[in-house]
Symmetry: D2
Subunit: 265 residues, 4 copies
């Protein structure tokens, strides 16, 4: 089994300079830790709790920045798409199209993403069971595209709360054969927990990341920011950039151990 990949970046693309700064910093940190990096950021937060929440730079402004990050830093890039028509243009500028969790059952979006031949990362809906995911995989595969990742980001647990079920990780891997990613920062969200925005507690993101890596995953997804408390979205759960190197050290060591002793279901 391959070492785990880190998919990381700020929740939303705040500016070209901000994206490049975080991408460069993450590249240096992951190279030092020997961890492959995929840079992630969103051009549009299309499902903010409140209308007044900032949504990001937008598709047109973001695509050139994605392209620049790929070229200047040589990093693969992931971003999320929200309507079928966005898939083709976005796939020109990034390596992995991400299907947001709320949209994980939207057939047309999955088909359009698959048709681009980009890799497709399907986030498991907060309302789905792990054994529901082969249906989403089959939708993408019907386009002839089998470069599919699945991401666990927590499941609804009462009101305004998510819980991460660690059984989901090997279960989805077994049932689909797809690489499975643990999204450690969204899974610690308290959706709607701040009234007009999602709350949560970033202190638990390393808890879930460690647990998942010890079970055995293809990757870990972490939103991170130079100054999370000032971020325009998901500030309660993003990790501070400066805390990433220590986390990568322990995750790398856990991953090596887990990969030597794979879980068998």
């Amino acid at each position: 089994d391959l070492p785990f990949v880190l998919i990381a970046g700020p929740c939303q693309m705040e500016s070209r300079a901000h994206a490049l700064e975080v991408a460069s910093a993450l590249q240096a940190m992951t190279q030092a830790a020997g961890v492959p990096l995929v840079f992630k950021t969103s051009f549009d937060k299309a499902n903010r709790t409140s209308l007044s929440g900032k949504r990001g730079l937008g598709l047109e402004a973001a695509l050139p920045v994605f392209a620049e990050i790929r070229e200047s830093l040589g990093l693969p890039v992931l971003t999320d798409v929200h309507e079928a028509s966005q898939c083709a243009p976005v796939a020109e500028a990034v390596d992995i199209l991400q299907i947001p969790a709320f949209l994980s059952r939207q057939t047309d979006l999955l088909l359009a993403a698959g048709a681009t031949r980009a890799a497709v990362n399907i986030k498991k809906g907060q309302f789905l069971a792990p054994w529901d995911m082969p249906h989403g995989v089959a939708k993408v595969e019907s386009t002839g595209n089998d470069r599919i990742l699945l991401t666990e980001r927590g499941v609804s647990f009462g009101y305004n709360t998510l819980v991460a079920d660690m059984r989901s990780l090997p279960l989805m891997a077994r049932d689909t054969g797809c690489p499975v990613i643990m999204d450690a920062t969204h899974a610690v969200q308290a959706p709607g927990g701040l009234g007009g925005a999602s709350g949560g507690d970033r202190a638990f993101a390393p808890v879930l990341a460690r647990a998942a890596v010890a079970v055995g995953v293809a990757g870990v997804f972490i939103e991170t920011h130079p100054n999370p408390d000032q971020a325009p979205s998901d500030g309660a759960t993003m990790l501070a950039l400066k805390d990433m190197p220590d986390l990568l050290t322990v995750l790398s060591a856990l991953d090596a151990l887990a990969k030597r002793h794979p879980v068998h279901l």
Copy 2:
């Protein structure tokens, strides 16, 4: 308080003839019961569990049928929309645009629906709390459109299960001032419960409808079909058309009682 409205029809538009047949039958039944009717059917089931599930007639074929039902039967019509670009054309042919539960936080869809000036029925996401809904209402209201309905259709409760929280009904009414609808047939679904399709048990739909009406609601949403076991979608939960008159009788009586004794929060 006004008597409750019934929003009803088959899950998907299977054909022009089928839609007209069910609409006419429902019209006769509701007139006999003295219950106002809104006819509901979907032109596209855009989030079927499985790719192989039938999706309905499609937008182009369905719009003339919606128009015909309005004109020939004089019934208001409701249907759901899945992408922002569908809102304007669909609003020409129907009275109420419905936001599917999975899409209930998609800002652009809510804004586009609001901008049409049609009434907008927001289904509460399976991942949302009742007190999260004012944010969705505010998105639609920002377009200057205040003709908004909210529908409870159950909340995620473990895997492949929904539960209907009756507290949600007066709570959403109090917090938004919007008419609140109980969707009695989707709330008894077992999402993904049949493997490649949603299961559930229609026997419990009258249970939830009675409970909701006794609490006090503006309307009840029920999917119904001449032969549910042969229906291309949601067959496990749709009520047989022939069972509607008895249900309407008891719901009408409960409604009259509930409206004389409103719940105060």
Copy 3:
């Protein structure tokens, strides 16, 4: 079907005078409404969240008061038991032994309660499904006692939250043949929600009571107090005594309607 029974009283027996005062008041109210009454109060709150919570008068002091209420007012009395050895002495003084929800799977307690020949009210554990209850019924029935009631009091829904699933009511009735009771005040608790005590919101108790009666139940369980905000336990959820008559009026009317149109599963 018979009209619904009200099981009601203060959460704990605070004093002889207090118990008699509430029992008399409830008797007058229910006679006016034509609703049969079972008086309920606890001699010991054996599972308070916090050690510092008051627990009630205790078994020895309470038994004569129970006997007095039965004799002087002619009311049947219900109270809960916590260890097998309490069942026999308590059954001398009351009509119905209640098994607390947390203890609903304790075999010895169910057997001891059954052996007394008193009626036994099993509260469904917050961790149980409706279809789990026939096992508890079978435990009591093994003693030759078939005077068994089942009570829905909400099921765990995330942390510190309960939800009342209305499907549970006819389902338990169908699967066991037992009278089914809706506990409307415990089901609106937020367990542990006040830190060292259970919180909740009494405003929703009438919501759940109305919903349950409209579905069709054998009884409604409501804790009530002359001054809930000063009560030593469950103050957040008990209804004020003065609000009972209006609630009984609407419940009686809903019940008559529901019993004329029984739900068929």
Copy 4:
């Protein structure tokens, strides 16, 4: 931080010979792995789903066997108690009294257990949040006994399902200062999932054990049996004894790593 302790043994004491056989086998395995062992088995399964489920040897027959295991093998022993009156006699024969999850709020049982001066392991109720546990700890501490362990064994998640929230482990440790144990086999139960008995899937127990150890725990609780499929209780979730050595190898390595890099909340 100290290395993790294994609390293990068969669900119920089936016979003296069986208990000694498993205890000896576990002792050899844990010595080879360098893991401290506490032997666990139940003298009475007091809350079986069904009356017909076997309950174990019983208190009187079991106490001499507990004493023999302590003396002949030198192992500390843990068993669970169900009524306050059992605490004193059982504490003569074992080192740790365990409070079953369903009984985790029974004040008298917690006080009686504390009063023995034995260590007390409180299993977190399936209906409790991690932040509710300080109240149970305070009940035991009020007896002057501060030798308290807390065990996570999953929380109710819909019907007949549990989920293990990894956040609970460091949260309880932080809020109480108590050693926290992960019960990896009960947390993968499907309560009532076999109709008259609890189901579940033992394949996921190593998943939860690995995850918990990587987060950092004081111990892991695992029920194990020479032949789980023939066991009288919890057969679906107990691990086969022969699979323990490989699991201990990976848990030990993960534990060493986790203890070098403790989680900070």
